[in-house]
Amino acid sequence: MRVAAAALFAAYAVTAFAHPAPNSIVRFEFEAGGARAEYWIPESELDYARAADPAGDLPAYLLRHVAAETTAGERWRVAIASVRGTNYLGHPYIVATLTLTPPAGALARGFVLVDDAVTHEVRNHRVFVVARHGAGSDLVGALQYPANRLAVAAR
């Protein structure tokens, strides 16, 4: 499903605006040697998740709950480049920018996302996973408890 990335987020965010239980969206963009991700997490839902696992600061928390690995199970290196708060159409979000680097010898064109940043606690929460390709994006799928793994690939 090919869509314009900006419109995609706008649509989700508008939905969140009137909904007391907004979902998350993580957008991956593949580049030479790895991938970057922008991860929008609604604060209201993240608060529940962090209350269940309060150790460390937010980057440390995210690194405990967001990972990428090859199909053979080798971990990619995930780093948090930045974390900021924003308010989009009336709902506060955390926006984390992540960089993902494959292990030596692994292709940088795809990985298995392993993520339960909110879903380890909030049972109805969904994380929409989007892969950007040039001018458009593909909705790869969604994660909801107990599912926490999804294959993401460059087109």
Partner: protein, 365 residues
Amino acid sequence: MQTRTFAALLLTALTALIQPAYAATATCRQSTPNAGGSAEVAAAIAKFRPLLSKSQLAVFERPFDYANATHWSNLPVGLVPRTTLRLGDLDEKQAAAARRVFVAALSACGLELLDEVRRADDFLVPFDKRPIGWGAGNYYMAVLGTPSAKSPWMLQIGGHHLAYNFTFNGHQPGATPLFFGSEPIRFETQGVTHEPLSAQSQAMSQLAAAIAARPEAKLSGTFTDVVKGVFMAGPPGPDFKGGTDSNFPQTYPTGDADRGIKVGALSPEQRRLVRDALESYATLPGNAISAALLQAYESSAALDATFVGFSGSPDFSTKGSYVRIDGPRVWMEFVVQPAVAKPEDLHYHALWRDKQSDYGGEARR
């Protein structure tokens, strides 16, 4: 004679006082024992059709396909536009005929729920500053396929906080998905107090209270909405179609872990509360639509294998309170959320799915 009448009235009043709310559900149903038959509903629709204009018919009658069947939501129409026949646009004659369709399809309780949920939406209109489309007029109806006594077709009635999706003559009895909600949970208009989901909230709350002392009944995690609700995805942008049931078919938990306590392990009184909760949802459609489902849910073997679980406060006094009935085929949820119009208040969402017969088993991608 007067004494006898007074005694009878007193007895009636006392009975009403000591009967739990769900008794009203049974009473409602008994008042409309034949509602929901496909021939009966099709006949009411046949009388409604000639009153509609060409353009109204064009939105009222749709093909019975996956996209149309799954186009329901728990979001207001400003966020998830409904494109079928808007009840707020009907003239007096059309509205009366539409109501006869509702009467044919619904139990008295189901009809009352429709009225009460729409009243609650009307109550929100003064708070709708954005606007996102609250209001009783923003409820819709449609038929998918051709109404008949034999071939499959659907009747949809719904809007922001209600989605009746009834499938007639399908592979399976088609009472679901059935979503309902209320914001506010209680309100007063013209001196009358309304609580649209009182029967279901009381039945689910009493069930949660009855099992609260059993550690295995407590579900892990936090619930901020129903778990198997609409999917906030789809082709977005100006023609955004997210917030519908586009994730159908659902997957459901298996095994015994974290599903609550099995009804087979409950006392007779607790089992009665499970049945009351089941009936508070399953008696909303007309009897002909859901009687077979209820019978399947309440069979001894099915009931024994059904899980009931809860999270939060059994009395539903706090957000995040949640109750679930998860059987071999039944899936019923009730959740307490913060309100949208006034976030310090609460609002309810409830969902009934059937693991085998959502859309009568007729909706395929």
